[in-house]
């Protein structure tokens, strides 16, 4: 596939920390509108890959392109977020001393400069958008609650809401179901499938039931490179995947 038609293009990416190769010659392609699940054992480089895509970590070698043309290795976190890549962290990271409403307002797509925000007045359209998001993430009655007082699952949902508020082209979602009950996990899967209708999504997850509920193409990482790629059935039948990850 030529680079021009891809949304996210990683080719031969490597990075090492103090001699440890966290990512080793990793190549992967995400197309427009695709949802992709990423699995792999601990230390496979899943989070490091997200760090590279979002500009937190610079790769030692390899190419990372967004939309086929933008070289992400030359951009910093803020400009990559502006380009339209949103990220949800493994540990839910919301602004604890802000209300749920303020968390969403801060995430909402709007000019990001200090003077733009200093004189910013919230518009009717923005209020409607926040209302819609509150309904979507089911926190409508918690809007004036400080984010610190939310339950773990609610924080996960709030963070997904903040991600959507940014209106990104690509969402990187790291372990959205971690620490959730089974029912919440299924609801989250439904939510992500909904989101995937209008956005491209990359989900990292350990929960195989969750991955199965998503029903999308799966990439298994191990030791910093792609071990297997394809449908969940195809990947989970792979001998090497069973060896390093699923277990016998």
């Amino acid at each position: 596939m030529s680079r021009q038609n891809t949304l996210l293009y990683l080719d031969g990416v490597s990075v090492s920390f103090d001699g440890f190769r966290a990512i080793n010659d990793l190549s992967m392609v995400i197309t427009h509108g695709e949802m992709r699940a990423i699995i792999g054992p601990n230390g496979a480089g899943k989070t490091t890959m997200m760090d590279i895509i979002t500009g937190k970590t610079r790769p030692d070698s390899g190419e990372v392109f967004f939309n086929g043309v933008v070289d992400l290795t030359a951009e910093d976190e803020a400009s990559i977020a502006e380009l339209g890549i949103g990220r949800k962290f493994q540990k839910p990271t919301v602004f604890e001393s802000h209300t749920v409403w303020d968390n969403l307002e801060l995430a909402l797509k709007a000019p990001r400069g200090p003077f733009a925000t200093l004189f910013h007045m919230i518009s009717g359209a923005e209020k409607t958008r926040i209302e819609d998001l509150l309904t979507l993430i089911r926190l409508g009655d918690k809007r004036d609650e400080l984010a610190a007082n939310l339950s773990h699952g609610q924080k996960q949902w709030l963070e997904i809401g903040m991600l959507l508020a940014q209106d990104p082209k690509l969402l990187l979602v790291d372990e959205p179901a971690a620490g959730m009950t089974d029912a919440e996990t299924m609801e989250t899967a439904e939510l992500l499938k909904d989101i995937a209708k209008t956005h491209s999504v990359v989900v990292v997850e350990h929960d195989m039931t969750f991955i199965r509920a998503l029903g999308v193409k799966v990439t298994c990482l191990a030791e910093g490179s792609v071990l297997a790629e394809g449908s969940l059935d195809h990947v989970s039948a792979d001998e090497r995947v069973i060896e390093v990850y699923l277990g016998r």
């Binding site: 990220r87 602004f95 409403w101 801060l106 995430a107 400069g113 200093l118 919230i122 004036d144």
Partner: protein, 399 residues
């Protein structure tokens, strides 16, 4: 539109604060000038100057609270900006002396004549004009803060490392200003001021005027801080304080936000220093002493960081205590200050105002729930639901 926004964000607490401050600004000079000296209600001259000094300290504390309480930048060097503003004002006051100095030189201040300097150094040009000097009061600290912040924030120096660098900054300036070659009067600093804007600096009416100016400066800066912290920018600052990297991933350039608030804060500290100098009558390198800057942080911590009003309260209370202690029990003061800091850190982590605020909220909630238990009657007061009301919630510092 902006002013209406500002007034909407003023809650009861801020209203009370502004009312008290306005009353003080009006009453103190009135009781000083209009009431006969033998009357019980007369405020003596020394008290006016003393309280004026407290107000400038309060403004300095306010500027520290803006960066520390809202953006998490613990500055241990804000005394540097205060002193720079003070020096800018001192230079103006020196030029106003004219031929009345000991050596009677029309342009050169006494200390330069004493050092056998033949002409005024270039950086003293313009300080004979009030408007230029008053502009420099803000611009000089602002430029230093901008250059310092540009490098520090871009390199993502944070936390304790940044605090240490700010401490080094003020110490370096202390050493530099001690040198006679710097052209700022060396060890002795700038003093022997005669008049300001044509008014005799010793006259009680001038003193009262300086008091009013200090009060008004505090009021205006309070309103600016209030607007900034209640705006969306203020919310971004708190976001940076609580989860800096998350803010970056949302697309905010954290370094620009820090730089903005840092420079704004430094300018306010500079104004505080400029109003301080004519009231105490001297500025010398001692003002750069690292201990001074640390003391300011204690004032803010005592009053309650991240509350603005708390910073003012803390500065006035601690300095009042300092005045009392250093007169009554001079040996005990430093122990008392140390003990105060320990007690506040251990038992009042949110400071006086934060603790009162918490108690108030708890009391109201108890009343609401007991109302609800009483059943029927009045429906319990529901928490505000509109976003405008949500914006009124005071950000509480997260520990």
């Amino acid at each position: 539109m902006m002013t209406s926004y500002l007034f909407r964000t003023l809650d009861a607490k801020a209203g009370v604060f502004i009312a008290i401050l306005l009353a003080v600004i009006l009453l103190v000079p009135a009781l000083n000038i209009l009431i006969a000296p033998d009357n019980f209600f007369h405020v003596p001259n020394y008290a006016v100057t003393l309280m004026g000094k407290y107000l400038t300290y309060a403004l300095l504390a306010l500027s520290v609270d803006l960066v520390w309480g809202f953006c998490g930048i613990l500055s241990l060097g804000h005394g540097a900006f205060f002193a720079l503003g003070g020096y800018a004002m001192g230079m103006y006051l020196m030029r106003q002396i004219g031929t009345r100095g000991v050596y009677g030189d029309p342009t050169l201040p006494d200390f330069m004549v004493f050092l056998n300097w033949q002409e005024l150094p270039w950086y003293w040009y313009g300080f004979d004009m009030a408007w230029f000097a008053f502009l420099m009061v803000m611009i000089a600290p602002g430029i230093l803060a901008f250059v310092f912040g540009w490098f520090a924030f871009r390199s993502r120096v944070t936390g304790v490392y940044l605090s240490i660098i700010t401490q080094a900054l003020t110490y370096a300036l202390l050493l530099a200003f001690f040198r006679n070659d710097m052209g700022f009067g060396g060890n002795n600093g700038l003093t022997d001021f005669k008049d300001i804007l044509g008014f005799d600096i010793q006259a009680s009416s001038t003193r009262a005027g300086l008091f009013v100016a200090s009060g008004l400066a505090l009021l205006v800066c309070f309103l600016i801080c209030r607007y900034v912290t209640k705006s969306k920018l203020g919310k971004v600052l708190v976001a940076v304080r609580d989860a800096e990297s998350r803010t970056r991933f949302l697309g905010y350039r954290v370094e620009y936000y820090k730089l903005f608030v840092w420079v704004l804060s430094a300018m306010m500290a500079g104004i505080a220093g400029a109003l301080y100098v004519p009231q105490v009558g001297i500025i010398n390198p001692g003002e750069f002493a690292p201990a001074n800057s640390i003391e300011v942080v204690i004032w803010v911590a005592v009053g309650g960081r991240g509350t603005l009003i708390g910073a003012v309260l803390g500065a006035v209370l601690v300095n009042f205590a300092k005045t009392w202690f250093t007169a009554a029990l001079p040996d005990v003061w430093l122990f008392a200050l140390g003990a105060l800091f320990v007690v506040v850190t251990l038992f009042l982590p949110k400071g006086i105002l934060g603790t009162i605020g918490d108690g108030w909220t708890a009391l109201r909630q108890r009343r609401v729930s007991s109302n609800a238990q009483a059943g029927g009657g009045k429906p319990p007061k529901t928490p505000p639901t509109s976003p405008a009301a949500a914006a009124n919630v005071d950000p509480q510092p997260a520990e």
